[in-house]
């Protein structure tokens, strides 16, 4: 009996250690962000702050322009996510449901090639490109490569989903006199919603977290996104640990809240996004 009990609790013990390893850094950061100065952090790193210093939050919010970074990240992620979904859904529809089969096959293969190219490899050439287009230091320089970069996987995911839609559905619709555009928006899109949500989440988070391009394509403070803004913030306040921790909390919290509500969707979306590709 004892053995059975041990066998049942052992996995929990191991898993709890792992969970602790995941969560302790966050706890440490939150505690530190509420402490007055570095000495408090150094002397009592694991301890709950003796008095809560919320002033850090107010100061950091004001001096780091976190609201600006936050807004920039949010609207870039949203627009790029939505644009990616619409563009790739339209393309996936054309490729899978429309009857220009030979063209579709060629395009499909071309898109597949794109999956092979690691995004880093294109960095310099994209930099030169956006600079030639005069887009450096505008959000276009991020929006366009972000959206473009997400297209291949999005098209593949949505196309796989659309292929499975029974032909009867659209035949009925065409009999009812719908054109292909109407068919796409009224019949196919609604049925495809689960795949669209998946694609949207993948793209949204991808943009939200992107660092490389946004670090080098944007130099105006007012246009920075959260990841680059936070790195700049760290560079400016390297010796004020409480401050830096406050910044980390600000940038992590919104994602965690979103995750709390949409965890299943997010997990499903991100994992599907990686495997099927």
């Amino acid at each position: 009996m004892l053995l059975v009990k041990a066998r049942k609790t052992l996995p929990h013990i191991v898993l709890m250690i792992y969970v602790a390893a995941v969560l302790v850094p966050f706890v440490f950061v939150v505690f530190s962000s509420l402490k007055d100065n570095n000495i408090d952090i150094a002397e009592n790193p694991f301890g709950f702050p003796t008095e809560l210093v919320f002033q850090n939050y107010i100061d950091a919010w004001v001096s780091a322009k976190i609201s600006t970074y936050f807004f920039n990240s949010a609207y870039l992620s949203l627009t790029s996510g939505i644009a990616g979904v619409i563009l790739s859904a339209a393309t996936a529809f054309a490729l899978t449901r429309m009857k220009l089969l030979r063209t579709s096959k060629v395009i499909y293969q071309a898109v597949l090639i794109g999956m092979l190219i690691p995004s880093n490899v294109l960095f310099i050439a994209q930099y030169i490109l956006v600079s030639d287009l005069g887009l450096l230091n505008t959000h276009w320089s991020l929006f366009l490569p972000y959206t473009a970069g997400a297209l291949p996987i999005s098209v593949l995911l949505i196309a796989a989903f659309m292929k499975a839609i029974p032909a009867e559905l659209e035949e009925a619709a065409i009999v009812d006199g719908l054109g292909s555009i109407g068919l796409f928006f009224r019949i196919i899109m609604p049925v495809t919603v689960p795949a669209l949500v998946t694609v949207f989440i993948v793209n949204f988070l991808g943009v939200w977290n992107e660092y490389l391009l946004s670090n080098f394509f944007i130099s105006k403070d007012a246009l920075r996104t959260l990841p680059t803004g936070m790195v700049g913030f760290r560079d400016a306040y390297q010796t004020n640990y409480a401050y830096i921790c406050t910044g980390i909390v600000f940038s992590v919290l919104p994602v965690l809240i979103l995750y709390a509500f949409l965890q299943d969707k997010i997990i499903e979306g991100i994992t599907a996004g990686s495997v099927k590709g």
């Binding site: 996995p11 929990h12 898993l15 792992y18 969970v19 390893a21 969560l23 850094p25 440490f28 950061v29 952090i41 150094a42 694991f46 563009l87 790739s88 339209a90 393309t91 054309a94 429309m98 009857k99 395009i107 071309a110 092979l116 690691p118 995004s119 880093n120 490899v121 294109l122 310099i124 050439a125 490109l129 490569p145 959206t147 473009a148 970069g149 297209l151 098209v155 035949e171 065409i174 054109g179 292909s180 555009i181 068919l183 988070l205 977290n209 660092y211 490389l212 959260l226 990841p227 936070m230 790195v231 760290r234 830096i244 980390i248 965690l256 995750y259 997990i267 991100i270 994992t271 990686s274």
Partner: protein, 293 residues
């Protein structure tokens, strides 16, 4: 009757924006890279064609070689350290009934966060004076370790951070495959008297081989892509000990203004990634064909 679905104009309308963007920001940069890679170009003056000079330089460049080696460390660490741990944790989570959802949700958290922010967070954790890693080790009488400043530890510190960020993601992937295994198989084995460990090795692992193959593949791809975390945590230092191919490429192009040389490095990175992928597919990755979902 189906003429609506043959309308070439609608087809064009649906396809061209995607193809246009895709062409402009993926294919065209690829082609222009192939051009710039053969030039000497500082961005200020006109590019000068210099044949294979950049490539021969790159192959002899000790800093680039060093960065390739570091990328290989990323690959080895993820394949031989992370993957076994991932499988173990996934099996453990799959084996428990209580708290299964909690474990799954929690371990996944780091993979939705920005690598840049994680880099800042872990820099603080590794801080020699106030960071919890040293405070914790200090409890056992271990002297201050300068994690990110010491050439002996810096790469390890980043590898661990990288593992912390991505393991949960892979665990969830493997877990999904484990939960898809028909329960009867396990139950039958249990009746036959197989212990938990035996069941894991004899039944679970063989059944999830396809997904293991996939996560190895993804780990390799991820290790080739790694750059943000290095730029944020160490900028490749100390003394290039954490430099990876992509960070070196970015450095050469942006900081040194060597756009021609930088793109030749990009081309080499691409080739190395392709070769690795092909090698893996031809050797260990064969099982992928068995993927049935």
């Amino acid at each position: 009757m189906r003429s609506a679905l043959r309308n070439p104009y609608v087809y064009a309308l649906f396809v061209i924006p995607t193809i246009g963007l895709y062409f402009l920001f993926t294919i065209y940069p690829m082609l222009s890279s192939a051009y710039y890679a053969f030039t000497d170009w500082d961005g200020l003056n006109d590019p000068k064609y210099i044949g294979f000079h950049n490539f021969t330089t790159a192959l002899q460049d000790p800093y680039f070689q060093n960065s390739i080696v570091n990328n290989m460390y990323f690959i080895l660490f993820s394949v031989f350290v992370q993957v076994p741990l991932i499988i173990m944790f996934a099996i453990l989570i799959g084996s428990v009934k209580r708290l299964q959802g909690f474990y799954k949700t929690t371990v996944f958290v780091p993979s939705i966060l920005s690598t840049a922010v994680i880099g800042i967070l872990w820099q603080f954790i590794y801080n020699p004076e106030v960071g919890i890693v040293n405070k914790f080790l200090g409890l056992f009488g271990i002297d201050t370790i300068y994690w990110l400043a010491d050439m002996r530890y810096a790469l390890w510190a980043i590898l661990i951070t990288n593992a912390w960020q991505w393991m949960g993601f892979y665990i969830v992937l493997v877990l999904a495959a484990i939960l898809a295994i028909p329960r009867e198989l396990n139950e039958a084995a249990e009746i036959d008297g197989a212990g938990g460990f035996q069941r894991a090795i004899r039944i679970t692992v063989p059944l999830i081989k396809p997904i293991i193959s996939v996560i190895v593949m993804l780990s390799i791809a991820g290790a080739m892509r790694v750059v943000d975390i290095v730029l944020v945590m160490t900028k490749g230092g100390p003394v290039s000990s954490t430099e990876v191919m992509a960070s070196y490429m970015v450095n050469r192009a942006i900081r040194y203004g060597e756009y021609g040389y930088g793109t030749s490095l990009a081309m080499l990175i691409f080739v190395i990634a392709l070769v690795l992928t092909a090698l893996y597919q031809l050797t260990f990755g064969r099982t992928k064909e068995e993927v049935t979902y």
